[in-house]
């Protein structure tokens, strides 16, 4: 379609979206700024080359599609809260994470940054310093309120960080010795290793245990390392054993002035609380991250060993799963509410 027509349609859609209730109030500001930028281009499109208007329209289409999926009340707020906290040290700008619920088992994470394009190419429009990055995550609808099962999102966040900073790309320039089998995609393999390592900083072994649950014996493919190799790299990292792939990424993030790859979570000793059907009270965000690994192990220990500390007449796997995910969700929510309350009450 013609870019001006597309922009008008997108503008209409954004206006409708902004009149409904976004989950995050900042999305209203974000959308208003976008509408203003689109209005500017539509009012004076002749001042911009058609190629610029076309790319702008393409970018706006993408943003509109992300925002359209964000008004639902099915968003996994607690997981998004954790992802925001994990991401903050790695991007030096405000970020809004929006969610689309996917059918099937599809986790993904896609960023979009309209402001860099607008500052560089739509030069007649003043962004006023507005610079919020929008990140859309795809979560399987089945898992939208199952935070323990959303552990793969930390892996996806690792991909986002990698691609945003071109970390794996840099490792090839600085360490050209192949880590992928001959004929495989070297960059893709390194990106998977990085995403696994990044995830493990926050959710410990839960990330690779989730991988093992899905793809236990996968050999190396064109795009992915073998599961065995992925497990080894993360295990070495978490046990602080020497590993050349870990060293390679440590070197790259250091060269780029990024945070180091270190274990950010701390153990959440939640067994007694969950046995008593109580939420776990985290003292800090590190313990919140630690909930994911601890809850994962708690759940599968209970399922695999037939634990029933709750005194229920009978316990099925689905009962344990529901109970643990529910307590996990509420534990994270309680912490988030406490933090918000304390911030609001601060003098």
């Amino acid at each position: 379609m013609r870019p001006r027509i597309d922009l008008s349609l997108i503008r209409q859609s954004l206006r409708l979206l902004n009149d409904s209730t976004f989950f995050d109030r900042r999305l209203h500001d974000f959308t208003e700024h976008l509408i203003a930028a689109i209005d500017h281009v539509l009012a004076g499109a002749s001042q911009y080359d058609r190629a610029i208007v076309m790319q702008f329209a393409g970018l706006m289409r993408r943003v509109q599609s992300y925002l359209a999926g964000s008004t639902t009340n099915e968003i996994p707020y607690e997981v998004v809260y954790c992802l925001n906290n994990a991401l903050a040290p790695w991007v030096n700008r405000e970020t809004i994470i929006v969610t689309s619920l996917t059918e099937g088992h599809n986790f993904h994470l896609l960023p979009v940054d309209p402001w860099n394009f607008i500052r560089t190419a739509i030069t007649g429009y003043d962004t006023g310093g507005f610079n919020i990055l929008l990140v859309m995550i795809g979560v399987p609808r089945l898992y939208s309120h199952k935070p323990v099962f959303c552990v793969p999102l930390f892996h996806e966040l690792g991909h986002f960080v990698d691609v945003a900073h071109k970390i794996s790309d840099l490792t090839i320039l600085r360490n050209s010795a192949a880590v992928a089998p001959s004929g495989a995609d070297e960059l893709a393999h390194r990106r998977e290793f990085f995403a696994d390592l990044f995830s493990s900083c926050f959710v410990g072994y839960a990330g690779i245990e989730a991988l093992t649950a899905i793809a236990a014996n996968n050999p190396a493919s064109y795009t992915h390392p073998s599961t065995i190799d992925r497990v080894k790299v993360v295990s070495d990292f978490l046990s602080q054993a020497s590993n050349p792939i870990v060293d390679m990424f440590t070197d790259a993030v250091s060269a780029l002035g990024l945070p180091s790859l270190t274990i950010v979570s701390s153990k959440a000793d939640l067994t007694a609380d969950f046995d008593d059907l109580r939420t776990f009270g985290s003292s800090n965000i590190k313990e919140v991250f630690g909930i994911f690994e601890s809850a994962w192990h708690y759940m599968f220990n209970a399922i695999d060993n037939g634990r029933n500390p709750w005194g229920l007449a009978s316990v099925r796997e689905t009962d344990i799963e529901t109970l643990v995910n529910d307590l996990t969700e509420k534990s994270i929510r309680n912490y988030a509410l406490r933090v918000a309350w304390n911030e609001a009450a601060a003098p």
Binding site: D49, I52, L110, T120, L170, L173, D185, L256
Partner: protein
């Protein structure tokens, strides 16, 4: 999955690509876009020649472009030597190479 190999990865960073499109058509670049193109080109060459020189100020687009240049002598030869003199011919050549790489992936 974000990192799956795809033809998108063979494309130039999107603002650099836009700049090439405009130059190839004989159009003037907005000044910020022109500066961006020059900066990305220069940093990409610097990183390519000396990956140890990367810093927090190195643009991700420059790293992406450096990796693309590393993998293709044709791309390297299509870059103007002084990195500021992208002619329409050079821009068209680079866009053509980009298209071929994306199509063959």
């Amino acid at each position: 999955m974000l990192a799956a190999a795809s033809p998108e990865r063979e494309k130039f960073p999107y603002l650099f690509h836009l700049a090439l499109e405009l130059v190839s058509a004989g159009k003037d670049l907005p000044e910020p876009l022109s500066k961006h193109m020059e900066l990305v080109s220069r940093q990409a060459m610097d990183v390519l020649m000396n990956p140890a020189a990367v810093s927090a100020n190195t643009l991700p687009e420059a790293i992406q472009l450096a990796l693309q240049l590393r993998s293709s002598e044709q791309l390297r030869r299509a870059f103007p030597p002084d990195l500021t003199g992208f002619t329409a011919v050079a821009a068209r050549r680079l866009l053509s190479l980009e298209q071929n790489r994306a199509a063959s992936h």
